[in-house]
């Protein structure tokens, strides 16, 4: 090993150079204040190390960037820690540089011949800020996306070059894939090369010119005796500082991981980007200027500050380093520092109050995440695009919120929000949280879904268009989602295809693409209706007898078999088959008339419903003129109906006396003892009611003449005798005796005929 090192030293001389670098002598005043440059370098090394490790897993494309950061955060061992370390190192390097710069400034260490060390230091500060600005965009969460949009917008405001620079950085006219790749390459390559060169320059120059002896005039440096060395005396201070700094960074990384907001959503206009606290002074500066001069605050003044910093060693030529001999420089520096700090403090006051949650509301926040409310609702952005953003809409009434959760349809009949029936404590917590949400609230951290949502779910209008994707490949939904996932929304709003006619036509769809049904419905969904009736060949052969058998007796989900048929079929649909081919039962000879096997018997046996499975209920009436079979209460009603229209009964019933007598073994109640005498007065319907039982010739049987007497009887009754061949007075007597006397007194004739 030693031989190898010796050989390497002989060939290159690098080992002795390395040794000389570390053993360089330092002036006596160099102490704890001088460790910040080295600590900045250490932080930079940590950033390179962690950044390099992150680069192994990061994918700089908009559809994968966020997923890869989530992968780092949630799936990689130590991934979250490494990312947090990168984040905290990046946050700490800026204050470290500023402390370093202030130390150099107040010690007067930038003075000749070290002016270029100062200049490279300022350039390094700018590069580090550049790292911050580009690294900000890489996680591609909401903050990254909107922050980048806003910053590029600010850059555009700079006159002349602003727009060109912003467009170059953006790589086009919108922030997107090209922008992200540019920011990535700037972050990991361009700025790294720059930083490497500048650090080398900076450090090697310090090595060449030595560390400034504190408080010594510029031209008296040569006389200072150098009492200590970089290694080990000063290195020990640096090492202690490095351990403390590392402990701080590691502690911060463990207790407060790097934030990751929801995935960037360019459509999410509800998102409010908030500036980070260390740029607030710039925001305050901008506020001093009218809108058309905004660039003075956002660009000119910060740029002037940078230029001022760069030229400090060239304008301040005072050779003194003792603070009390450089009052002008120190007071100017202090003034600028105080202005910036003051502006920042003012800006912090304008920041919105951070959200304060009571323990109950905090519990409610967990319930909010647990129930995945965020998949529909945003909180000032960040949620799903379905429901309204909860950050909007002002103060809410707890009672209203509670009722809305329990029954959203009562609030809005068209809503698709499912009703939530929670345990009382969960509900109270959730209500407390929702009431608490205001314009400054933020979406709580959302755990990653497993598996990761595909990129399509973040596309513009995904929610509106998902039905088309479902149609293309319904199986792809069920790969991740359970059938009841669809029903969470669709129990309140059916898919547009499921309209009023849907049940009639669903079978075709279901037969052609069963996977379409399976996308939302569980496999046993069809069975819930179809378990008794599958329309296979067997079913078609048996449906007549099944209908006849079960028609009204069995019920599924409260529906009889006929009602189930009518969900899809109309009575006419039977005729599609049965118009030519009658059902077997109808093929009996004389089906219409035969009392033993004819339709009447069948109808009585199986109930009208079995007729109704093909025929409209009115079908019987078209012949019978009556609901058939005779409706309930017919027994007592039939005399009235029969009296009105006896012909109706006669269509089926043979009105021989014995037909009625099967029931009416005793004469009807109307036929009282004196009925024979009274009946002419009691019969008001021209004898029709008599005919019901007594037949068409009811009157003639006794009267031998139409009763009651037809019109013109006055003129025609005289001819009655002649028709019978009874002539003369005897004939009249005979007629009177044989016929008229049945009802009329002999004297009745004398009312007209004088004897």
């Amino acid at each position: 090993m030693r031989k190898l090192l010796d050989w390497f030293e002989r060939e290159t001389g690098l080992i002795s150079a390395w040794g000389r670098f570390w053993t360089q002598p330092l002036p006596p005043g160099v102490g704890w204040g001088h460790i910040f440059g080295a600590l900045t370098l250490l932080t930079l090394v940590v950033l390179f190390l962690t950044g390099g490790a992150l680069m192994f897993y990061y994918s700089p494309t908009p559809d994968q960037a966020y997923a890869s950061v989530q992968y780092i955060e949630h799936y990689l061992p130590a991934g979250r820690f490494i990312r947090a370390l990168h984040y905290w190192a990046a946050r700490l390097i800026v204050p470290l540089i500023i402390i370093h710069i202030l130390r150099v400034f107040f010690w007067g260490a930038y003075k000749r011949p070290r002016q270029m060390i100062w200049v490279t230091g300022v350039l390094l500060l700018l590069t580090v800020i550049g790292y911050g600005l580009t690294g900000y965009a890489l996680p591609w969460d909401q903050k990254a996306y909107w922050g980048t949009v806003v910053r590029l917008k600010i850059a555009e405001g700079v006159p002349l070059v602003g727009e060109a620079v912003a467009t170059f950085l953006r790589g086009g006219d919108t922030v997107g894939a090209v922008t992200l790749m540019r920011f990535f390459v700037l972050h990991v390559f361009v700025l790294s090369v720059l930083v490497f060169l500048l650090v080398a320059w900076h450090v090697l120059q310090v090595r060449r010119m030595g560390v400034t002896p504190p408080g010594v005039r510029v031209n008296e440096e040569a006389s200072v005796e150098k009492t200590q060395r970089l290694y080990p005396e000063h290195t020990a201070r640096i090492a202690v500082g490095a351990v403390i700094l590392s402990a701080l960074m590691i502690w911060l990384s463990l207790v407060s991981p790097a934030p990751l907001e929801p995935r960037a959503n360019p459509m999410d206009t509800a998102y409010k980007p908030h500036p980070d606290f260390y740029v607030l002074w710039m925001h305050e500066l901008v506020d001093f200027f009218p809108p058309n001069l905004e660039f003075v605050g956002s660009f000119v003044l910060p740029a002037l500050l940078v230029v001022l910093l760069l030229i400090v060693p060239f304008i301040e030529r005072n050779p003194e380093r003792q603070p009390r001999k450089r009052l002008l420089a120190l007071s100017t520096g202090t003034l600028v520092l105080l202005i910036i700090v003051g502006l920042n403090v003012k800006g912090m006051e304008a920041l919105p109050e951070p959200e304060r949650l009571s323990p109950l509301a905090r519990r409610g926040q967990q319930v909010f995440v647990e129930l995945k409310c965020y998949s529909c609702h945003g909180i000032n952005g960040g949620g799903g695009p379905v429901g309204p953003d909860l950050g909007l809409g002002g103060k809410r009434d707890p009672e209203v919120v509670r009722n809305l959760l329990r029954n959203p349809s009562a609030h809005n009949p068209h809503t698709i929000m499912p009703a939530y029936h929670l345990s009382p404590d969960k509900e109270a917590a959730l209500v407390a949280y929702i009431v608490n949400i205001g314009p400054n609230s933020k979406m709580p951290p959302i755990p990653p879904t497993e598996p990761e949502k595909p990129a399509s779910h973040f596309e513009e209008n995904w929610f509106v268009n998902h039905k088309f994707e479902v149609r293309k490949d319904p199986g792809s939904c069920s790969d991740c989602h359970k059938p009841f996932f669809c029903q969470a929304c669709h129990q309140n709003r059916r898919p547009s295809s499921h309209d009023a006619q849907w049940l009639k036509f669903h079978f075709g769809n279901a037969a052609e693409r069963p996977e379409m049904c399976a996308a939302c419905h569980s496999p046993d969904y069809c069975e819930s209706c179809h378990k008794v009736m599958r329309h296979d060949t067997r079913w078609i052969q048996q449906h007549g007898s099944r209908l006849a058998q079960f028609g009204e007796k069995l019920k599924w989900a409260g529906q009889t078999m006929h009602q189930m048929c009518y969900q899809c079929h109309t009575p006419q649909s039977c005729q599609g088959c049965h118009s030519g081919a009658l059902p077997a039962s109808h093929k009996v000879a004389n089906f219409l008339r035969d009392p033993q096997v004819g339709h009447g018997k069948l109808a009585l046996k199986q109930g009208a419903a079995s007729c109704n499975s093909c025929h409209q209920p009115q079908f019987c009436q078209s012949c019978h003129g009556l609901p058939m079979p005779h409706p309930e209460g017919w027994d007592s009603n039939h005399p009235q109906v029969g009296h009105k229209n006896p012909a109706l009964c006669q269509r089926c019933h043979n009105f021989q006396e014995e037909t009625c007598q099967t029931c009416h073994q005793a004469p009807p109640s109307s036929h009282t003892e004196d009925f024979r005498k009274e009946h002419p007065r009691r019969i008001t319907d021209s004898g029709a009611s008599c005919q019901v039982c007594h037949g068409r010739n009811a009157c003639l049987n006794c009267h031998k003449t139409p009763m009651p007497h037809p019109k013109n009887w006055g003129e025609t009754h005289g001819k009655l005798g002649q028709q019978r061949g009874w002539k003369g007075y005897d004939g009249v007597k005979k007629l009177q005796k044989a016929q008229c006397a049945t009802c009329h007194d002999i004297k009745y004739c004398n009312q007209c005929h004088q004897p």
Binding site: L49, Y57, Y71, I82, V243, S246
Partner: protein
Amino acid sequence: MEQRLTRREWLATLVKALATLLAIVYSIPTLVMLVVPAFRRQKNPWIKVGSANEFSVGEPKAVTLSYQRRDGWVIRTVRSTVYVVVKPDGSLKVLSNICTHASCAVRWERSRNAFFCPCHAGYFDAEGKVIQGPPPRPLPEYPHKVEGGLLYVRLESV
């Protein structure tokens, strides 16, 4: 002078110790993040093939499976085909459709009652055993289970 040298030595030891500590503290999580995931094996999930009673004795039935597979931070939908065979005793067998010879996809030839590999004319019988041709091994069989009337298969890299 003696004392001063000791102090310098002590400081040098301190520096070396602290530097080593920092190097360890920073490099261990970094290495863990880079090395460990590479050696993690993904557990193969049970994939639903379909209703167990839709397969009948006789002809092997090809089923195209579609399932999600994590590839780093990308979730891919992978499709692959298996043949479900019902043995005469009614038990099921799920066969890969990849020929063991040159990894071509085999298909069921009804006329010969055998799986046929078009690349080098290999033949397998309905249970995947080699009948003729160059394949060195029978068609690989995947583990399967039937739960609640549904057939699941676990695809293993073969």
